[in-house]
Amino acid sequence: MLRLPKFEVEKPTTVDETVALLSEKTGDVMIIAGGTDLMPNMKHELFTPKKLVSLAGVSALFGIREEAGALVIGAMTPLDQVANHPLVAERAPALAQAAGLVAGPQLRRMGTLGGNVMLDTRCQWYNQTYFWRKSLGFCLKKDGSACHVIEGGSKCVAAASNDTAPALMSLDAKLTFANADGQRELLLDDLWKSDGIFNKKVPPSDLLTEIRLPQREVKHLGAYGKLRDRGSIDFPLFGVAVRIDIDANDVVVDAEAVSVALQARPTRIRKFGESLVGTTLGSPEFEKGVQAAASLGHKQCRPMPNVPGDHEYRHAMVPVYLKRTILAAAAGAGPVHAV
């Protein structure tokens, strides 16, 4: 069995205590939420923090509630609760579906929504043991200067691999972070930067406390599609969340799609709504619009050999999964995945 490097654990019970601990020595201190990603990463010596600050006892970070029309989810809420909560299913079906497809049942009981949002980027050349990485030659993301995804590449292209991020972005989610100076709110879209080494603009010393889904004025439909080899466990090889806003006559008034597992950040498919807006769900025009939207996705989404598997096949699956996810959303169904 791989050994965990040695570390200490702090167990604060309040947000104030937590942010105080996190401000101690950046780099040597890390947050542990569910730990389902951090523990293997520590065993692989990708992170060797001297101290972990456990959020397990910070009760303010748990729970799902409605607040002035918004749906607010505490960062420590386990993924299986997000996946199965009636409020989430009703208000954010794409999120419920995405949360329900993260990893497997045991990991969803431990893993948290906040942890999934803040997930480290992944790469087949990076998420490996120390021995393996050393034998290969260390890479840009950790300990080295080479890129094995793009030969000669100088920018890390490790992939954002969090299923819930595109679903949250499709719903215009806002995040609340706390640090020693207080709290601030950030649109999830503004969290990211296109850097596989660390794909967030917020420093790791800031604590994500809650995720807020604003009240939507218009009725919407949503679904999540996930490409992976097996029916469970695996990280996405491609993921896409779709939101379709409709009026009382089922006419599309707006639509968004957000993809993940392609590059360092989840990305909105540009002009996605244009081919669907104005069509009536289920009409021939809508079907045509779906094809056009799928083609648009195929043009914009360019998988790289950063995560395991055949990247050309992943590219071929972009329009298929996009189309199926739109149709699933329109039908009030989903998620779209194998098995």
């Binding site: 791989l2 087949q124 998420n127 490996q128 097996r230 071929a316 298929v320």
Partner: protein, 784 residues
Amino acid sequence: MSARDNHGTAPPWGDEFQVIGKRHRKVDGLAKATGQAVYTDDIALPGMLHAKTLRSPHAHARILSIDTTRAEALPGVHAVITGASMPIKYGVIPWTPDENALATDRVRFIGDEVAAVAAVDEDTANAAIELIDVEYEPLYSYTDPNESLERHDPAIHEGNKHGNVSKHVELEFGDVEGALDGADVVVENDFFFHGSTHTAIEPHCAVAQWSQDTSAEGLLTVWSSTQISHYVHRALARVLELPETRIRVIQPNLGGAFGGKSDPFSLEFCVAKLSMLTGRPVKMLWTREEIFYAHRGRHPMHMHYRSGATSDGKLVGSDAKILIDGGSYSSFGLVTTYYSGQLLTGPVDIPNYRFNSTRVFTNKPPCGPKRGHGSVQPRFAFEIQLDELACALDIDPIDFRRKNWQGEHTKTVNGQRITSNGFMTCLDEAERESQWKERRGKLADGRGLGVAGSMYISGTNYPIYPNDMPQAGIQIKVDRSGLVTIFTGGNDIGQGSNSVVAYLVAEELGVEVADVRVVAADTDLCPVDLGAYSSRVTFMVGNAAIDAARKLRKQVVESVAKHWEIAEAGIRMGGGVVLDLADAERTMGVREAFQLAEADHDTLGSTGSYNTPELGGDYRGGTIGASPAYSFTAHVAEVTVDRETGRITCDEVWVAHDCGRALNPMLVAGQMEGSVYMGVAEALLEEHDVNRFGLHSGPSLLDYRIPTTLDTPKINSLIVESVDPEGPYGAKEAGEGPLHSVIPAISNAVYDAVGIRLRHLPFTPAKVLRALAELESDQTVEQS
């Protein structure tokens, strides 16, 4: 074969079996389910040290120097060893000893063992590993087996007179060219079977204790998660230069093996040597990553097959050329090379047959035996060709196999003796249960049914190292308490061999299974058995167990007859009770009967053994693959192919398997289900390979995709009992045969579903999409 090896197939008492043929728990089932069972890693001895291995970061390199000074100086480190500590080479096949416990002068794949450290704990050992300074001179490395065939400089094994060729076998039976010239239909294709590994849930682990308590010369005890303690015993003696009498090998409970624990491994030698050097017990537990490097899994095979049939549906011949990618060491490779050709000659008769197999070395983790050793790959190619011939001749593929069935009590073209053969019943069962006739060709687009068949050995008469001693031995002790204790060298690797010997002896002695204890796989306590491989244990150890039990039974019956003053034939034993058949009132417990026998015959004990009859063809290699009995299997697979994503879902599998007699139908069904699971995994998901850097492409259970329960088809196990004349009560193997033909059955089902022939494994969605696109463009060309 002597009389002792043949015990008949009838129940020992009356007309019905009392234990055999009924569902029983495994004797160790509850202990395993409740966590009480002790596995190698559960062993903790006073003062025990922990050992770790330094591995090569190069695919192929010469070792120029190793400096262990800094590691030795680290506080907590007790000993550091290198190849120089154990320079004697070994190999599981005595003719090809090309392995060292630690590399002496060169490393041959990324992960090859270079040095080992024993320290007070795992973290200190890991830290010390990083302090060993090794200077390497990288050498040209081979990842393509075709290159190893052509290029021999540098040789991966210097001194090998065939360059980078590990083994070459060419055999022809009959006149293949003549037969194919006369065929009405000939199919000819390339096939590729990829590498896969075992993924037993228990990692390899070994513990050694060097003790001088019992003798001045010292005694080495090694606990190891091996499936062949006898060969580990022999290899330890050779490499450590100790007499075998000074070594004791014990196999604790084992969490799966599937062939992956058949070789002697570096860790067994290292813990032994480190214990001898430090005088302390030493444990080494491999990480999952290290197990992927140790590998010994399924050999990738590049195969070219040509088969022909006449218009009336008779197969006339088959011709195979096979290139086997062996990885870096020989392991069982000599046998693999023979098996790649020798095990194909049933259940379908091949009147003219030829194979030309070459195993080469490459700088990759070494391949070895995995469930269905050497024969799963050719079976895949051949059964697809049978399907193609049947289609070309417009004959139902099940009927085509029926027409070409070899029959029972016959000989194969390569001289193997076939005894019982239930293949026709297997076909009938699979056909009926899958509703083949009603449904095939009538399913919705994208759904299909496919069939394939196979055979496998129940052990072979090739004992790895030549000797005339029994292949299996058993001792039984019975005493006045009523307890029966069986001592067997057989390795229970989870397949339930300890349970099987308990059922057999309970049946013979008329006792309850609960009153039988099994002591297994301890070289100090148990008679020699050659181990759990080649599906030999039920057949061979089972026969030895009946042999030993029958001798004891004779003594017990004699004493009871004398006591009751009746004829021996008037006595029946069963369920722990002895009955007088003529007097329903007169009974006694077996405990009392054992006491009568102990008084009459003194302390009670017996031995039993098994050896194979003279078998095999009269030519070099003719005994490799010669088995006292063969199992037969037919699979029908149902698949759904998603034309848009290329994804194949295997929805349901019907597996009909002729196991001779099901000693415990629950265990037989378990083996059949496990085999189907593993076969489906190889067909659709698993791939053990190295990347362009020669590095394993993902040595973890996240990246190496084995199916979850969601990815596993519904499995229908259909047990067929042909009752073999020489098996224990008629039993044959069930652990490996039921894997083989599910893979070609899936390929044949995909053809039925969407019209593409998948000849290159694994059947990834990308390959399916490419094949569908090719089919479409072919059809477009035809139409235009």
